[in-house]
Each structure stands twice: as C-alpha cells, then as structure tokens.
C-alpha cells in the first residue's frame, strides 16, 4: 500500500459520486438514491482498507500524503491519519450509507440536490478530520457549513430558515477568529516569508510565546466550543436539530459536533498545553454544567427530537470533561465517547425519524403503548437508549466509565468534584431516557397523534431494520469487546497526554503520580 493515495481516495470519492449525480436526470429518483448509497458504501469500503492499513503501535501520522499547493505561502496539501482521526473517519463513513438508506421515506422532494449535497458534505467532513495543513483544514471546515445550511434550510421543518441562518452565523463567528489565530501561528513559524508554514506537524514544533498562548487558545476554543457545543454556546443546537430533516440531524449530531471536540483534542491541547492546563478547571466546570443542564432540560422536553438534542449537550459535556482531565484514560474515554455519541444519538435521531414518518408528530404525549404496536422498533429503541444512558454491556458504559476513571485519576488538577457532578449526570440521563420510554412505549396502546389526526402505527420494515442492525452491532461490539478500538487510539492519545504533561507548569507536576 506504500505510496497509494488511500486518504485522498477516501476524501474525494464522495465528491466524485456527487459529480456523477449531477449528470443523472432529476426524475430518476431511484437511480439517484442508489447512487448515493453506492457511493457512500464504496467510501466505507475504502475506509475499511484504512483500518487494516493503520499501524496501531505508531503514535504519529500515517499514510501521509503531501504535495505543494501554494508553496510560496507555505500552504500544502497535507493529509494523514492517526489514532485520533481514524475512528472518527470510520464513524463518518459508517453512518453515511445508513443515513442515505434512511431517507427513502423522508426525502421525496429534490432528491438530486439532496444526494449531491450529502456527498459534498461527506468530502468536507472527511477532509476536516484528515487535513494536516491549517489552510486545508480551514477550507474543509468552512466548506462543511454550506451543504449543512442547505440540508437544514431546504428539507427542514417550519422554522428551517431561521435555524439554518442561525447555525451558519454562529459557527462562522467562531471560525473567523480561529482563522486569525491560524494566521498568527503562521507568522510565529518563521521570520521570513519562505520559512513560514501552515503545516500542522511543523507548527507543533513552533514554540508559542506564553503571552500569546491564551489569546490563540481562546480563538481556537471559541470556534470549537460553538461547534461542540459547550454550554453556554449551545443555543443554536436545539433549533438546528429540531428543524433539520432526520438525515441532517444524524450527520449534525454524529459527525459535525465531533468536529468541535476533535478540534480541542487535535489542536488546542498539543499546541497550547500551558493554557489548556490553566483553563482546565473552567472548561471542566462548563462541561459539568453542560452535563447537568442538558440532562435537566432534556427531561422537561415534550418533543422527542428536542429531548435528543439536549441529551447531546449533556453527552458532549462528558467528552469535554474527559479531554481536559488530560489523563490517558480520560482521553481514551472521550474519544470512544465521541464515537459512542455518534452511534447512539445518530440512532436515536433515526428512530425518532421513523416514528415521525409514520405519525407526523414528535410530541411524546401523542404516543402510548407503542411497544405493543411496534415490538421490533421498541426492541431497537431500548438497546439504543441503554447505550445512550451508558448501561454496562453497551458502548456508552465504556466511554463514560473511562472518562470518570480518568478524571478521578487527574490528581494534579483536583477534578474529583467534577467527576462526582458528572456521575450525577449519568443518573439524570437514565431519568430522562427511561421516562421518555415509559411514556411512549408503555401504557395502553392507542393510535398516535392527538385530536382528529390519528394514525395507526405499523412496525418497522426490512429497510429500517437493515439501518438499525449495523448500529446495534457496533453498540454491542464496543460495549463488550472495545479492545480493537482502544488499541488503535492508545498510542496517539498517550502522546497527547504526554505533550500536555511535559508542558504543564511545574506546580501542577509537583504533586506527582
């Protein structure tokens, strides 16, 4: 495989699929859907090759490709994969075919545009995870906004335009300041025009003056915190999720939110370790607030989709807490939890979407006794819900356990109280999920809806089962035997943990291990 541009293939195959889709007549809805599914399956197959080509023992970037782009400016086309990005790339390519499969009932208008935009979005997402040049990264990062804006705005609910514009403006505000921070790093990388670079690997070796570190960290952190979203930057999320079509919600929750946490892990921690350590208590506090606040607000929702949206705020609070405890365990937990959240929340959105396609309502009060009406659906819902609540045996448990363990072990930062708060969040997540399950699935069975709009519910069919089975398999696989996943992430995450520890101020290291 040496020299074969596997990563470029993975990144740009979806774009090729989009280009082909442009030439399919818009009336051929079946062909377009098949093309979208096929293209995303081919990308998934290519990323499986990536999994086998990846060397778990190597903490550095692998399968690196590098070519001059604007050599005079220090910009290159530079991509590579390591233990941090590998799982997120696979998560993306794994969910895309399932998402395409889920849209047969929901997306009936403008299918051509939908397929093209989804594939363009996939290229942008994969490019963001794999880019190792800041210019390239920023291009992919911003390019993600446009297709997502269209997905929400064209196929979304009644307030879709408001939600789409809010999503665009919020994320853009964060990212332009990151652009200035990227430029500042570029100027720090050399004293002459030819020695400066946007290359991430080279910038890692550039010492950042301690006076500048807080500012640059803040600019990066704002961009990522809005994307995650960290409390109190989360207000765009419920709007975007509720208005987006199911496919948009799945991609938004499963992948786009990970861009934020990925950004913290990839850039903020290794580039600005001193500041990261200094602000860790603050960010851990925001994480815990997010966990508790998200869970409490989720519990009070009457709309299922909003409930799942707020549960995202809660789950990503865990990830943030784990990232800023800096221990190898907590970082591993965070990374696994990113994948878990992608699987379980993605699946929850798919499940809510299936119910919505039948009943055209998402209000919890409109349902009762669904378990008797749709037994297969209820079984899948139960498993996914357990995963989301972090029950042992499911993937959610592995992630949350590692995060809490790692946070308790972070003696230097004294984050134990935060871990206790986060532990309360685990209980709250069981509360809102089980309560929702009880109201929807138990009780006397009756047609869904209220007033005169009553619908008899039919159980899920083979296509929907085909969507859910792979996700449930992954949920149980990570839950029961997570070793293959942890092995592949360990080396890279240990490296990040050490980078932070080495650079951490002496007072924090004085405590010792």
């Amino acid at each position: 495989m040496e020299g074969f541009p596997l990563l470029s293939l993975v990144i740009f195959l979806p774009l090729l699929g989009a280009a082909i889709a442009l030439f399919v007549p818009r009336e051929q809805i079946g062909v377009l859907r098949a093309l979208g599914l096929l293209a995303s399956l081919v990308v998934f197959a290519a990323s499986i090759a990536l999994w086998f080509a990846f060397d778990p023992s190597n903490p550095d970037f692998q399968l690196v490709e590098r070519a001059g782009w604007l050599p005079g400016v220090g910009i290159s086309y530079h991509v590579g994969v390591d233990g941090i990005s590998l799982l997120l790339v696979l998560l993306t390519t794994f969910l895309m075919p399932l998402t395409f499969l889920s849209t047969h009932g929901a997306i009936t208008q403008r299918v051509k545009e939908f397929v093209v935009l989804m594939l363009v979005l996939e290229t942008a997402m994969l490019g963001t995870f794999l880019a190792l040049d800041f210019f390239l990264f920023y291009v992919f990062w911003e390019a993600m906004l446009v297709p997502m804006y269209f997905l929400i705005g064209v196929w979304g609910g009644p307030r879709r335009i408001y939600a789409a514009v809010k999503f665009f403006l919020y994320t853009m505000t964060g990212s332009v300041l990151m652009l200035l921070a990227i430029l500042t790093l570029y100027f720090l990388s050399g004293s002459t025009a030819t020695s400066r670079t946007f290359d991430f690997v080279e910038l890692l070796r550039t010492p950042v003056p301690t006076t500048l570190q807080p500012w640059l960290f803040a600019a990066f952190a704002l961009a990522f915190a809005i994307k995650v979203p960290v409390f109190p930057f989360h207000t765009w999320l419920p709007d975007a999720h509720v208005e987006a079509p199911t496919a948009g919600s799945v991609i938004l929750a499963a992948v786009l939110l990970k861009m934020g946490t990925y950004g913290f892990l990839r850039f903020c921690l290794p580039l600005f370790p001193e500041t990261a350590v200094a602000v860790a208590p603050l960010i851990a506090l925001l994480g815990v607030i997010g966990i508790l606040y998200g869970a409490l607000v989720a519990a009070m929702q009457r709309d299922m989709k909003k409930l799942v949206a707020y549960s995202s705020v809660s789950h990503l609070g865990f990830v943030m807490l784990g990232l800023f405890a800096f221990t190898p365990e907590s970082l591993q937990g965070s990374l696994i939890q990113m994948v878990n959240h992608g699987l379980s929340t993605g699946a929850l959105f798919l499940l809510v979407g299936m119910l919505y396609e039948r009943a055209h309502t998402r209000l919890i009060a409109d349902f009762s006794g669904v378990a008797k009406l749709m037994p297969a659906y209820a079984a899948f819902f139960l498993i996914v819900m357990f995963s989301s609540a972090g029950l042992p045996g499911t993937n959610g448990f592995i992630g949350e356990f590692l995060i809490l363990l790692g946070t308790f072990k972070a003696d230097l930062l004294r984050l134990q109280p935060y871990a206790i708060g986060a532990g309360a969040g685990v209980i709250l997540s069981a509360v809102y999920l089980l309560w929702m399950y009880q109201r929807i699935f138990q009780g006397p069975p009756r047609p869904a809806g209220h007033g005169e709009h009553l619908v008899e519910l039919a159980d899920i069919g083979p296509r929907e089962i085909a969507i859910l089975v792979p996700i449930v398999v992954m949920i149980l696989w990570i839950g029961i035997y997570p070793k293959p996943f942890l092995d592949r992430t360990a080396a890279s995450l240990d490296k990040v943990s050490q980078q932070v520890a080495v650079a951490a101020p002496a007072r924090l290291l004085a405590g010792g291990r």
Partner: protein, 502 residues
C-alpha cells in the same frame, strides 16, 4: 531656452494606444455601417480591441520603464496587471450589456465608445507616474461614467443618478486637485518619484531630473500643508473607491444607473482608484507610512462596518450590492493599510477576485430583468433555484464568494488580506475585518435562501434569450472557483507586479 524633446517611448503606452484606437474605430464604424437592433459588430470590434490591449499588456510584462514621457507614465508590471483587470472588466461589461441594449433602448454607437474611453482613463490612472496624470485619468473615467449613469433616458432615477454623481464627483475632483497642489507646495514637484525622493529614501522611481528641495522629513519636520494635501488626496480617491464616509452617493447612483453600468462602476472605478492609491502612497509617500496608514485604518474600519451593517437592511439587490461594494472597498483598504508587499499583493489579488464575483452577481441581476421592469427586489429571487437552476447556482457561487466562504476566490482574497494585516501588526483591523465579514454573511446567504428555500411570490415571465450575458455569468462563476482552488498563478503575478514595494 533649450527645448528637450521628452523621451517618447511609444511601447510604454501601447496598451493605452490600442484602447484609444479601438474606441475611435468603434465611433467611426457606427457612422458607416447601417444600424441593426443589436449592433453586434460594434461589440465584436470592441472585444477584438480589448484582446489586443490585453495581449500588448502581457507582452510588456517585465518591460519596466517607470518614467516614460518625461516622467508621466510608468509601464511596469503593476500597470500591466491592472490593464489586464480593466480589460476583463470592460469585456465582461460589453458581454453583459449586449443582450440588453435593445431592451433598455441604449444607443450602442455611444455606449461602447464611452466604456472604452472610461477604460483609457482607468489605464492612465494605473500607469500614472505623476499626480497630474492621476487627475487626468480620473477625470476621463469620471466624465464617461457620469454619462453612462444617465443612459436610461426614460427612467427618472437614471437621470437623478447621473446628476448626483456629477455634482458630488466634481466636488471630489476639486479635493483631489487641491491635494495635488498642496503636495506640490511641499515637494516642488507633482512627479510621484520626485515627491518620494524629496520626502524620503525612495529614489527608484525618479525621472531623469527632479527639482532639488531640502527634504522636510530629513529636517525632522512634517509640514501641516503636506498632511492636509495627503488628506485631500485620500478624499478625492476615496470618493471614487466609495470609501466611507465618502460613500453617500453610492447607493443612489448604483440603484438609478442601468444595471450593466452599475456593474461596471462598482468594479471599474474601484479598481482604478486602488491602483492610483497604491501608486501614490507607495511611491510618493513611503516615508510617511505611519501617518497615512493611520488615516486609512480609521477609514477602513468605518467603511467595513457601515457597508456591511447598512447592507443588511436593503430590500433592493442593487442597493444591497452597492453597500456590499462599499464594504469590499474596506477590505481592500485593510491591505493598503498594511503598507507592505504582502498587502499590495493582496490588493491586486482581491481586486481581481472582487471584479469577477461582483460582475458575476450583477450579470445574474441583469438576467433576472425583463423588458420594462428590472426585478431588482430581493423578493424577486424567491424560488429562482428551481425555475432557473444554473442561474441560481451561479448566483449562489458569487454570494458565497462575496461572503468569503471557501473554496472561492473571495475566501482566498480575504485570507491574504488578513494575513497582510497581521504581518503589519494591524491585529485590531484584522479582527474588525473578520467580524464585519461575518455580518456580511447574513445578507449574502439571504439571497441564497430566497432562491432555494422560499416559494416564489409572483411570476416574472419567461426568461428572454441572453446568450452573451449568460456567457459572462458562467465564465465569472468558473473563474471564481478556479481562483479559489488554484490561486497560485494569480498570486505569483500579483507578487511580481508589486516587486517595487519592500
């Protein structure tokens, strides 16, 4: 008294001569050949002349005669770069106008020559080695534009635009002239190279001889007269570039003028003004960078903030694009303020990018017009994405580029502008700039959501055949994407064009 014949280097002005001959030929041909409704042959002659002009400019790359005609004209790479931009602007405007001349009841025999003569003015401004030359070029440009703005004789707004532009423009020209006089009062010359030599170290642009004056800078003084002169030059040139607070004419004139002329004005006058600003400030006043860059920095902030915030409230797309063009002048000014080679390079690249995306956007506005109605309200764009998908796609590309979203020319341009600003230590300016561009995203993506996410409120009637205008829009859209993904060659040219700036 001995009369020394000045150095008549005809090659140095070859592109300008070609443009002048083209304009005259078009005038004469219109008299000889009988009229047809579209007068397509006039457009074709003009385009051929433009191609020759561009060819000559490219051939004169690295010619570098900086004081031809007794120190009046500089034929360096900066001139040639802008000459090519001007040719692109005029060619695109001719393509965009051709299909509409009949509908708008324009007379092509005057319309095309006026465009060409105004282009001569722009080329003179970009090649000026003397403040007098800047003034002459600016007047030639302005007078042609005053007439063009009033070309829709039947619409009162067009006449209003013309008169308004003339009255205010004459005032601005007065400022410019007064500024030139005050600079002359300090440096005893209007030649840019001589002024530069008199005020500081710059001697590479000096003509054969300059009047000798004791440098006031070397003596540690900065005469108020000189500062006032520089301020007035800024007012005069800033008026043409539509910088706030000298922008008040812009929305009314842009709204009233025929759309093709608006498109032309919004890019042509701005490009020419920035060419002149670069020349005047980098050659004549490099020793006074802290003074003029401080003045321009304030203007840049006001321009970006005013342009973008007021654009949000517009319901008429021509007015919206007018305010957006003000904002874009602000971004370019940020690069001027940086006052280094990166900045000058960014000015050139952004001018090119802005030219393509703004002309493209106006081409779409023109294509939406119907006989007797311009359809310039934002609401007219509702549902365009499904009625005319290709047109809407092009418009979406232009809007995203104007908003600075990758992978478009607008993004690369802004990226390099803010890089130059940070290089010069102008962090505050860069922060205001990026935040202002976030504001701008709001009104650009409004056009996109109207096109794709809102049902049309009324029917506009069948789209008339407009192959030339469609060609212009299509070419601009492709160019915006190509410049966004592979900007390397254009950046290299821009860098070669500003090699004289340290």
């Amino acid at each position: 008294m001995l009369f020394v014949l000045p150095d008549l280097d005809w090659w140095a002005i070859a592109p300008i001569l070609a443009m002048t001959i083209t304009a005259c030929v078009v005038l004469v041909v219109d008299l000889i050949i009988p009229r047809t409704p579209h007068q397509t042959h006039l457009a074709i002659i003009s385009l051929i002349g433009l191609a020759i002009t561009a060819g000559l400019s490219v051939a004169l790359w690295d010619y570098n005669h900086t004081s031809a005609f007794g120190g009046m004209v500089a034929a360096d790479n900066l001139s040639q770069f802008f000459n090519v931009i001007f040719v692109v602007i005029v060619a695109a405007t001719i393509l965009m106008s051709h299909d509409q001349l009949d509908r708008e009841d324009f007379h092509p025999g005057e319309y095309y020559p006026l465009l060409l003569f105004s282009a001569i003015g722009m080329m003179l401004m970009a090649s000026a080695a003397d403040l007098i030359m800047v003034f002459l070029g600016l007047e030639l440009l302005s007078i042609s534009l005053y007439i063009l703005a009033g070309f829709s004789r039947r619409r009162a707004e067009s006449e209003e635009a013309s008169i308004k532009y003339l009255l205010l423009g004459a005032f601005a020209s007065g400022f410019l002239l007064y500024g030139i006089a005050l600079v002359y009062g300090t440096a005893a010359s209007t030649n840019l190279g001589c002024v530069g030599a008199a005020l500081g170290q710059r001697s590479d642009f000096m003509p054969a001889s300059c009047p000798t004056v004791a440098s006031p800078i070397a003596a540690g003084q900065l005469p108020a007269m000189l500062l006032a002169g520089i301020g007035m030059l800024i007012v005069g040139l800033g008026f043409k570039a539509a910088l706030a607070p000298f922008h008040l004419w812009t929305p009314d004139v842009y709204e009233g003028a025929p759309t093709a002329v608006t498109a032309y004005m919004s890019v042509a006058a701005k490009a020419a003004a920035f060419a002149a600003i670069l020349r005047v400030f980098e050659i004549a006043f490099p020793s006074l960078v802290p003074d003029w860059s401080a003045m321009l920095a304030i203007i840049a902030i006001i321009t970006m903030v005013v342009g973008n915030t007021v654009a949000i409230m517009q319901q008429n797309i021509k007015r919206m694009l007018a305010y957006s063009s003000i904002a874009h002048a602000g971004y370019i000014l940020v690069a001027v303020v940086a006052a280094n080679q990166l900045g000058a390079q960014s000015v050139l690249f952004y001018t090119l990018a802005y030219t393509l995306m703004n002309l493209g956007a106006f081409a779409v506005v023109i294509l939406l017009g119907r006989r007797g109605e311009e359809n310039v309200m934002l609401a007219d764009y509702a549902g365009l994405g499904y009625r005319q998908p290709l047109l809407a796609l092009a418009m979406a590309i232009f809007m995203l580029s104007l908003a600075g979203i990758p992978p478009t020319a607008g993004f690369v341009g802004k990226f390099f502008i803010f890089r130059a600003a940070l290089d010069a230590g102008q962090v505050g300016l860069a922060v205001v700039g990026v935040l202002a561009s976030v504001i701008s995203v709001y009104f650009y993506i409004r056009v996109i959501y109207l096109m794709y996410m809102v049902e049309p409120s009324r029917e506009l009637g069948p789209a008339p055949r407009a192959p030339w205008t469609s060609l212009a829009a299509g070419l601009a859209a492709v160019a915006v994407l190509v410049l966004g993904i592979l900007p390397g060659w254009a950046l290299a040219w821009a860098q070669a064009a500003v090699g004289f700036i340290s």
